[in-house]
């Protein structure tokens, strides 16, 4: 499913003294099949944007009460907001938002905080039962839960009757992800999927996301502060700053703008820092900013 946003704006607490513009007329297209990164520091509007993708935040024109404004004489209307995810038009009242939400999986920050059921099996089954059109048969639920737990790398038989609260941090996060992908979403959006894990846990989660991207969800969108994570994993990344999108580029081109990123208060990957430090010493290297390519390029410099 292709994601298209055009002229999308959003203001929190509109009309109150606390009104703050979180998104200012942004446009962004995410193609089907991408492993897309969203960057930006706290308050840049990135979470507001991703919450639009499965209609946790609704475009005003999709609300029941919405009445289009009639332009006064001589007034120019702002350009029309477009927001589509595959065949779903999120600006329209008649859209089946329930179906949309089963197709766009959303994994929040620290998803393990949302575990609630007595057993792992029940926890993962919850979303599946909720989104099913008719009441699903017990075997169907079991099969779906089993598939979801196995793709996230957990042993179904071993874990199904355990309490999710007795698991380790990394396992809990896997169970929480299984609970989202059990509806087989085509787009998976994750907010800081690796935050708070130790380095090994981080690597395992990123490997899991690549596996899901290959085998299960066509499009993966991750929100991350970790530039190394973006440079090593993403096909393209968008940089948010103060409600606007500054760049949409593949990491290999994005991190060539190191100075601009730093001035936006963002970090750059270590490889980009090294490239800049080398350049200052008269050594120019071109690499795509992944660690492996950097090492290869440096070794190739030797005479």
């Amino acid at each position: 499913m292709r994601i298209v946003a055009e002229h999308l704006s959003y203001t929190y607490n509109a009309g109150s003294p606390f009104a703050s513009k979180a998104l200012k007329d942004i446009s962004l297209t995410i193609e089907e099949g991408e492993f897309f990164g969203i960057l930006g520091h706290t308050g840049s509007g990135k979470s507001t944007f991703v919450q639009h993708l499965n209609a946790l935040i609704r475009v005003p024109s999709s609300m029941k009460k919405y009445k289009p404004k009639k332009p006064k004489k001589g007034e120019v209307l702002p350009p029309k907001t477009v927001l589509t995810v595959g065949e779903f038009d999120l600006t329209h009242k008649k859209t089946d938002f329930r179906a949309l939400r089963s197709k766009v999986g959303m994994v929040f920050q620290y998803p393990e905080a949302q575990l609630f059921a007595e057993t792992v099996k029940d926890d993962v089954a919850f979303g599946y039962k909720n989104f099913a059109k008719e009441k699903p048969k017990a075997e169907e639920i079991e099969a779906a839960v089993k598939d979801a737990l196995e793709i996230v790398g957990l042993n179904y038989e071993e874990i199904k009757d355990q309490s999710p609260f007795d698991l380790s941090g990394g396992q809990k996060r896997r169970v929480a992800i299984a609970g989202v992908i059990v509806t087989r979403p085509e787009v998976l959006v994750l907010d800081e999927p690796a935050a708070g894990l130790d380095p090994l846990g981080k690597r395992e989660i990123m490997e899991l996301l690549h596996k899901l991207h290959r085998e299960w969800c066509k499009t993966v969108v991750i929100v991350s502060h970790d530039m190394d994570e973006i440079s090593e994993n993403c096909t393209r990344a968008a940089v948010f700053s103060e409600g606007e999108i500054k760049y949409v580029l593949p990491p290999s081109e994005l991190f060539a703008h190191s100075e601009e990123l730093l001035s936006l208060g963002l970090d750059v990957p270590l490889t980009a820092k090294l490239c800049a430090a080398l350049k200052a010493r008269g050594v120019e290297i071109s690499c795509d900013f992944t660690t492996e390519d950097f090492i290869r390029s440096v070794l190739a410099l030797r005479r």
């Binding site: 706290t42 941090g169 530039m227 270590l270 090294l274 010493r281 050594v283 660690t291 070794l299």
Partner: protein, 274 residues
């Protein structure tokens, strides 16, 4: 004088359960900056909680500035040891920043004027004076965490323990916290125990210890620890990316030393290729 001393300490969370801390001998000198590394579940947080008397040891002896940890001494010790936890939202108690910072100081029954002074001092130390009358919920994660640190500082503790206090913050927030903590250590002589799994943060410490399964398995200066990278990997810890790059370049036949400073690495690479 040792700020914190553990002698043969055992601890387990359930009676028949595995040890979370096993026969631990460990000490921190006054004014020292120690980083504690270890993967999830290695016992690092247990160590922090034992130091503050939030948990009590099954066996062994814990002393803080020479005072043994007993029920009677508990409150004396807690005035000297402050902990900042991981989640900033769980550490906010009041609706206004200054009330939040004052909470601990009020609890130990300080006079009103003194509390006012402590709030000034603490907010200044973390660079948050201008937010004195703000609402904590409207602050960023890094700012909230600085408020949490200020709340601890208002008690004027001699030791500050940061239990993965930067794990939930973005890079900017993380830098803010680390800057504040290093300054307190260098300028005010505060003893700091920094529990983290960001290897880069451990580099700033005087000494680093690595925990695994409730035991200390490695100890030394951060540079020493990262030198022994094969060992680190066996404890489920990864080398910082820069360390990995050094090793790979060496393996590729380039004569660069182990370093964790990217400017230095760039310098060395430039030497090798020109």
């Amino acid at each position: 004088m040792n700020a914190i001393e553990f002698k043969g300490v055992d601890f387990s969370y359930s009676e028949d359960g595995a040890f979370a801390i096993k026969n631990l001998n460990f000490s921190v000198k006054e004014g020292e900056f120690v980083a504690v590394l270890g993967h999830n579940g290695s016992g690092k947080s247990t160590l922090a909680r034992l130091t503050d008397g939030l948990l009590s040891a099954d066996k062994g002896e814990i002393t803080v500035f020479g005072t043994p940890m007993t029920d009677k001494n508990l409150y004396t010790i807690r005035k000297q040891v402050g902990i900042v936890f991981q989640n900033p939202d769980n550490q906010t108690v009041a609706a206004i920043v200054e009330d939040d910072v004052a909470f601990g100081a009020e609890n130990i029954g300080l006079p009103r004027e003194e509390i006012g002074k402590r709030i000034d001092f603490a907010l200044k130390a973390v660079g948050m004076e201008e937010f004195r009358h703000s609402t904590p919920t409207r602050l960023s994660g890094g700012q909230k965490q600085r408020i949490a640190i200020a709340g601890v500082l208002a008690l004027k503790p001699k030791v500050m323990i940061l239990d993965e206090s930067t794990a939930m913050l973005d890079p900017r927030g993380r830098r803010e916290i680390i800057d504040v903590v290093t300054r307190l250590n260098k300028e005010e002589g505060m003893t700091v125990v920094l529990i983290t799994h960001f290897m880069e943060e451990a580099l700033l410490a005087d000494r680093a210890i690595v925990m695994n399964r409730g035991e200390i398995v490695m100890e030394g200066t951060p540079a020493d620890i990262f030198e022994r990278h094969e060992e680190l990997i066996t404890y489920n810890l990864a080398l910082p990316r820069i360390g990995y790059i050094c090793k790979q370049l060496q393996a590729g036949g380039m004569d660069v030393p182990d370093t964790l400073d990217y400017e230095k690495l760039a310098e060395e690479i430039a030497k090798c290729v020109s």
